[in-house]
Structures are given as C-alpha cells and as structure tokens.
C-alpha cells in the first residue's frame, strides 16, 4: 500500500510537489503528467531517494527513506546510467548482493530476473554494448529480481520498440495479477490507458485528478466535446444537426461530419432519428481518450477553477 | 509530396569565419567558471598572488607607511615592483604554484574531458569546428582565463606602478625588461594551459583529467626532486618536471636569476618534447571515431 499524506517537496526555491495526498491500495496505477510535473519526484520519494519537505510518504505503513522498507520496493528509475563495464547479469546480481544475499543466491535470482525480461541470451554481455531497449529491460530486471510487493516504474517504456512495449505491458499485467502494486509513470498517455486501472494526473506539482479514465471523463461533463459521424450523406446530416441547440459547430467532410457539442438529450434524440433513417454509419467520440482529458484538464482556466472548487470544499 | 511541398524553406545565412567560431567557443570556455557562485569564489581565491602583489605595490607607492617601499626589494626581488620577478611571481613563485595549479585544474584540465563525458564532442563538430579548431578554442578560453591573473594582472600592476612613480626613471628602467617579462609569463601560461588542455582531451571524465594533471605537475615535480637529491650535480633531472622545465624556460626568456639552476636548452627541449607527446595523444583522442565512440 502506498500513501502520500499532504506531501510537499521543494528543491531550494522550486516547489516540485505541493500538498499531495493520495492512497493507493493496489492494482496498476498510472502517474501522468508533463515533463517537470512532479512524477519523478513522487517516484523518488517512494523509492526513498528523497525525503518530503512536508507531510509523510508511506509504503506499507513505513517511510521508504528507511533502508529496510526498500526491501519490499522494486524501483525502475528513469536514469540511463549503469556500471557500464559489468554484464547485465552481474549488475543485477551486484544489486541483489547489497540486500545481504549470498553470491550464489544472488546469481540465481539475477538469472531468473533476466529471463523474465527476455534478456537471457544477452545477460553475459557488458551493458556498454546494450541497446536502449535492453538497458530498459535490465533496469526492469533489477526492480523485479526480489519479487517486490510494490513496483515503481518511472517511464519504463521510453526507448522501447512496439514489440518490447507489448512484452513489458504483458509483464506488468501479470505482476498485477500476482498481487503486486504497480505505480507506473509516463507522459505518453496511451501507454497507461492500456494497463492502468486508475490514473493520477499531476500538473505543476499538484495532484490534478485521480480516478479511472471513465471517472475522469465524468469530471468533464460540462466540457464541449466532439463526435465524428460517418454518413453516406453528410450534407443532409449536417443540415439536420444545425437545428439542434446544443450543437456548437460543424465541420463537413466528404464522408463524415465532425460535431462539437455541449451534449444533452436533443442531440442524442436527433442522432437516433438519423440512424433510423439510415443516414448514420458510425458515431465515434473523438475526445474520450486520456490525451484529450489531460489536455483539457491542464488548461489553465479549468485548472484554476478546479483549484478554487477544491479549496472551497476543503474549507467547507 | 516533397519536403518543399510541406512549406520547408532552407535557412539563408552568412557563414561566419573560422576565427569567430573558435572565439565563440573560447568565450564560452572563459565564462565557464563564472556560471556558479563557487566557481567565481574559487577564481577570486586563485587571484591571491595578484592581490598580494597589488598590496605590495601600494606599500611601494607609499599608500601605507610601513617603512617605505625601498625595503621591499631588499627582502626579496619578488616584493619589489622595480624587479621583473615581481611581475612573474603570480604565475611562477612558490606560493603562486598552488593557485595556478588550482586554476588550471579547474579550467584547462576539465575543459575537453567534461564535453567528452557529456558526449558533446560530436555535436560540436557538426557546428563547423573541427578537432583542431575545437582544441584551439578550448585552449584559448582557458589561457585567457588563467592569463587574467598571470599576464593581464601583472601588466596592470606595472601600469599602476608607472602612474604611481614620481618621475620617468621607473618607466625608462622597466622598459628594458618589461617586454621580456611579459613574454615570459605569457609563454609560461600558454605552455601550462596547453599541456593541461591536451591532457584533458585524453581522459574520459573531468575528475580523471584533473587528477592526471595533478599527477603530471605534482608527481613529476616530486620525482624530479627525488632524483635531483640522488643525482646531486646532475641538474638536468629537474627537467623531468614539466612545471620546472616551463618555469626555467620562462626565467630564461625574462632574463631573471633562476631559482633552480639547470641548462635552459634542456628545459626548452623538455617543454618541446612534452608538448609534442601530449599533442600527439590529443590528436589521436580527438579523432571522430574516438570522440563519437
């Protein structure tokens, strides 16, 4: 279990995190934010590399700054530095031996971890000769090696090709099924959408939103959104939709109509009618993915409104 | 669709001259120490010999009544603005050694190694500066920075002494030795920063480059000191130290009494040999395949 209790973190004059409170009981949780939003700071706080300036960070009820807590945490950092002259296997075994394991046990566990990330064939080559993807896998291997109860993956997909991404995604899902709590950060939202049960949106050091993709979507009910309507007669569809009050704008194409709307019953009733008349082949929401939600949420106007509402709630 | 179809337009520009490109690099290098507060403080600390010289100058000029300036020269030629040793002291005195070593370690010895460690060499070489120009720019930057304390400072002190002297006699007397003295300190600074910059090109990290430079300067001086004690009378062994060899050569140029007596031809030969060796290594280490790999 992971918990942030009113955590703030400053680097000198720079506030990296401001009053973050969140509790993660399990599952795969995505940590989303733009570069510099505070994702890595949250990860580093959980890995025990940093201490909060204010508040408390707990992993299984204990502060990760204490060495023994880290026994339960596997951390795949975003740094690309290694002991380059070591082989991948030796690197993982070295880190395992720092747990206090004996050499033989460490070697066996390291070999097993390398196998899990698909690096068995290359595990005795020096890291210096590894590709970017292989280096990512070595980091993942060392994080997995001691079967942690909490796995922190900081931008794990960076530099991976699509096949490797798929493999890593499958591995993360299997770990979740085995009961491991996984916190995975990324600024590529699609990556998380496939695996994350829950998403935390971080922006300018604040926790902007917390929930599933669909819960986040509900946050945005009053937001205008867009629909793409494929039709054999798009002009006719457009003509009918101009009469609907909630439609804000229309863009006509040869095969489709893009509708910008505030939503509401009138629109859906009209769409049902058009469908019954055979004028609609497909209706596709254009903004229901995480990217759109994120782009909308971090819009400054909405952000300040959201903060005001939150502050009002807090005062109440 | 071609790239031009997408609205691409080639940038029109006037290519700058080689010297301007190199100077841009040198200017960047020269300012590198001043990017942090600590760098600036260290630079100021390294100017202690110059500050000491200025203090002595004020005594000589009679700003302080500490028995007048006449006594300073009797204590040591290094203390008298009427002697060339005074202007060589910031670079070549026993006390100046630590500060020049520190500054060259901070600037020259780190200059190329830090770019190599940051994998910046290949980027720089796509900007119209080849390995030779790059090396020259780095050396020029660090030479200019170290030269503030060892060349420009002493020259400014001479100007100050000249303005403070009551008549033309100081100017007339000092013009006999000043050009040679300035040439000597210029040579000494250039030689040391050149050696340090060349060593910097060999190392993988700035720390390693710095320690190599310290080993070459302090270690070789220790070896030279040991051998000069064992081989008494065989003064050439002092030339084993690049520092001592450069210093002896500079003293010969300035025409001052050397602190360590050995043949100037041996010293000049040693400086040339050391220079040739490090430049050959630097040339090798700055080849594209080494820099990119």
């Amino acid at each position: 279990m992971i918990e942030f209790r009113g955590v703030s973190k400053w680097y000198g004059q720079v506030a990296a995190l401001t009053d973050v409170s969140v509790k993660i009981d399990g599952g795969i949780v995505g940590l989303v934010g733009r570069n510099g939003a505070g994702k890595s700071t949250m990860m580093n706080l959980l890995a025990g590399l940093l201490r909060p300036s204010r508040g408390e960070v707990l992993v299984d009820g204990v502060e990760p700054w204490r060495a023994d807590t880290r026994r339960r945490i596997g951390f795949c950092p975003d740094v690309d530095s290694f002991y380059e002259d070591l082989s991948g296997h030796a690197f993982v075994a070295w880190l395992l031996r720092l747990h206090g394991l004996r050499a033989r046990e460490a070697r066996e566990l390291a070999a097993h971890a390398m196998d899990r990330v698909g690096l068995t064939d290359a595990m005795h080559r020096t890291i210096r000769g590894y590709s970017k993807g292989m280096r990512q896998r070595v980091k993942l291997a060392q994080a997995l090696a001691r079967d942690p109860s909490t796995l922190l993956l900081d931008e794990p997909m960076t530099g991976l090709d699509p096949i490797a991404r798929h493999d890593i995604t499958a591995l993360v899902v299997s770990l979740h099924e085995a009961g491991v709590t996984v916190l995975v950060s990324s600024h590529v939202l699609q990556e998380l959408e496939e695996i994350a049960v829950r998403v935390l949106l971080v922006h300018q050091g604040r926790l902007l939103a917390d929930g599933s993709v669909h819960e986040l979507r509900r946050l945005l009910e009053d937001r205008p959104y867009r629909l793409l309507i494929h039709s054999p007669r798009p002009r006719d569809v457009a003509a009918r939709l101009t009469a609907v009050a909630v439609v804000r704008g229309l863009t006509l194409d040869q095969e489709a109509v893009e509708v910008e709307t505030d939503g509401g019953g009138d629109l859906f009733a009209t769409l049902t009618e058009l469908g019954a008349e055979g004028l609609i082949e497909e209706v596709r929401p254009l903004d229901d993915d995480l990217e759109a939600v994120f782009a909308y949420l971090v819009d400054d106007g909405l952000l300040s409104r959201w903060r005001r509402e939150r502050d009002r709630e807090a005062r109440a | 669709m071609t790239i031009f179809g997408s609205g691409y337009q080639a940038l029109t520009y006037e290519p700058t001259s080689w010297l301007r490109r190199v100077w841009a690099l040198a200017w960047l290098e020269m300012r590198s120490l001043f990017r942090t507060r600590w760098g600036t403080i260290l630079f100021l600390v390294c100017q202690i010999p110059l500050i000491r010289g200025l203090f002595l100058l004020t005594i000589w000029a009679g700003f302080w009544s500490l028995g007048g300036g006449g006594g300073l020269g009797r204590m040591s030629p290094e203390f008298s603005p009427e002697h060339p040793a005074f202007y060589l002291a910031p670079a070549m005195s026993e006390s100046g050694f630590v500060f020049v070593l520190l500054l060259t370690t901070l600037v020259s010895a780190r200059s190329i190694a830090k770019d190599r460690a940051a994998r910046g060499l290949e980027i720089l070489w796509t900007r119209g500066i080849g390995p030779g120009g790059y090396f020259f720019g780095k050396w020029l930057g660090s030479f200019a920075l170290v030269g503030i304390g060892t060349v420009i400072g002493p020259l400014a002190m001479w100007c100050f002494a000249q303005s403070a002297s009551p008549d033309e006699s100081f100017a007339a007397a000092s013009m006999e030795w000043l050009p040679r003295t300035m040439l000597a300190t210029l040579f000494f600074t250039a030689a040391l920063t050149g050696l340090a910059t060349a060593l910097s090109s060999m190392a993988r990290s700035p720390n390693l480059a710095s320690i190599l430079w310290v080993v070459v300067v302090v270690g070789a001086s220790a070896v030279a000191r040991v051998f000069s004690r064992i081989f008494r009378g065989e003064s050439w062994v002092r030339a084993l130290s690049p520092w001592d060899a450069a210093k002896r050569t500079a003293e010969e140029i300035a025409g001052v009494t050397p602190r360590i007596e050995f043949e100037p031809s041996v010293a000049i030969g040693a400086v040339l040999v050391y220079g040739a060796i490090v430049v050959a290594f630097a040339q090798r280490r700055l080849r594209t395949e080494e820099a990119v790999g």
């Binding site: 720079v14 | 630590v98 901070l106």
Partner: protein, 275 residues
C-alpha cells in the same frame, strides 16, 4: 542477526568498490610509474651509491614519492572517485534504491580504498627495498638499507591510507567539485600547516605530519639525508605536546569519516540537478 547483515552489506560494498578500482586505469598507471622509478633507481651509478647510504637511497624516494605525493594525491582521488563518480553520473540511484543503509555503502568504499592504498604503498616500498637489497650493489658494503626502515615505511603506509581515503570520501560526499577540495587539502592545507609551529596544535589536523612523526619514532632518530628530510620543521616549541601519531591519525580519520557518513546518509543527491 542485523549486525551480521550489515557487516555482509558493508563487505559487499567494499568488494564491489574493489572490483571497480581493479579496472581503473590510473591505478595501473601509478603502479607502472612506480616500477619505472624503481628500475631507474636501482641502476644509479656507483658514484651516487658511494655518497648515499642504503637508507637514504631507499628512504628519500620512498618518502617523497609514496608519502608526500602518491598516498595523499592518489588515495584522496580514489576515495572521492569511489563515492562521487556514481553520484555525478546518477548510477548511484540503482544502489540507493536497494535496502542497504548508506553508511554501509560509504564505509565499504572507504575500506576498499584504504586496502588498495595501504597494500599498494606497502608493496611499492617493499619492492623498492628488495631491489636495493639485491646482492652485488655498491651499498651492500655495510650500508645496505635497514629492514627496520622498510618495516617503518610499510606501517606508515598502513597508517596514512585510512586518513587520505577518508578525506577523499568526505570530499566526494560533500562537494560538487570534490577533486578541487581534495587538492586544496593535500597541496594547500597540509603544506601550509607543516610550516606552522608545532605549538599551534593544528598539525594534528593533517595526516602528513603525524605520519612523518611516526616514521621518525619508528626508525629511531634517522640520520643522513633521510633524517634531514623527515625532521625538517619538526623542531620548535610545543612539539612534545602533539598527540601520539597513531592517535592523531585515528582521531582525524574517525572524525572525517563520521562527517562523510552523516552527509552521505542525509543528502538527497538526486535533488541536486534541479536546484
């Protein structure tokens, strides 16, 4: 149980630092340089050998090169290298994320550098002494180097190594440009303090001075050029008030190492790049 685990972790950190040191080019470069100097010294002309005693011929180079240059400069460097290099390239993140207390890591690294320094210093002295003690050399005629002098130098190397390694570790853990700080200590502080009268008491805040006093005590009033070198600037009021050499180095090392450990344990190195 916990003590056993911590000991094992410290020793593992030491082993890993030794492995990394083994592949450091500078170590081999220094050993090769030492071999070269020993080689040259062994073939010094007879006229030199007749003027100097075996002890001088051994002691002068061994003291100037090993104790005044090699151990201070190279060991401080290795100390800071072991601690600071992985901080500067951020590979230390992997290590810090493991369940190992940072003091164990730092002490392990310090131990490794101390071992390498003491062994290398002692080995160089021993090799040089053996080379001079070869039969059929001119100084064999009653003036061969004394085994007691070798013993003193070997013990001196073992005494100096922990101190300089601790200074290096402290600089590595504390400063962004640790090498400059280490150079200031070795070339600035130690040299400056050796010219301060003994009664000022600051000489105990160095390693070079207690080690020199240790050599003088252990050899038993050395004579000749070696005696001159070792006893230079030793005279003066208050010389007797200084701590015992071993105690002085032990105190100095303990304090510096403790400070390094506290800083290494508490500092958030990963926050450096952003401030």
């Amino acid at each position: 149980m916990m003590v056993a685990i911590r000991t094992r972790q410290t020793l593992e950190a030491c082993r890993q630092a030794l492995c990394l040191l083994r592949s450091h080019r500078l170590l081999w470069l220094i050993l090769a340089g030492a071999a070269l100097v020993i080689g040259i010294s062994v073939f010094v002309p007879d006229k030199v050998a007749r003027r100097l005693t075996g002890d001088d011929l051994f002691g002068l180079p061994a003291y100037l090169l090993v104790f005044q240059f090699g151990l201070p400069t190279i060991l401080s460097y290795f100390g800071l290298w072991a601690v600071h290099d992985e901080i500067s390239d951020r590979s230390v993140v992997h290590v810090f994320a493991q369940p190992v207390p940072r003091p164990c890591l730092l002490v392990g690294k310090w131990l490794a550098v101390t071992l390498v320094g003491a062994l290398a210093g002692a080995a160089i002295c021993a090799a040089y002494w053996l080379a001079l003690a070869l039969p059929d050399r001119p100084w064999r005629r009653g003036l061969a180097p004394d085994p007691d002098v070798l013993a003193a130098f070997v013990q001196g190397a073992a005494l100096a190594a922990p101190g300089y390694a601790a200074v290096g570790a402290f600089c590595g853990a504390t400063f962004r440009r640790p090498l400059i700080a280490a150079i200031l200590f070795v070339v600035g502080w130690e040299v400056a303090v050796s010219n301060v009268p003994p009664r000022a008491g600051v000489r105990d805040l160095t390693i070079a001075d207690p080690v020199r006093r240790f050599l003088v005590e252990r050899i038993g009033e050395p004579t000749g050029e070696l005696g001159e070198l070792l006893q230079a600037s030793m005279a003066g009021q208050g010389a007797g008030e200084l701590r015992e050499p071993f105690a002085a180095v032990a105190w100095f090392t303990a304090v510096v190492l403790l400070a390094a450990t506290v800083i290494y344990s508490r500092r958030e190195y990963d926050a450096r790049s952003r401030d």
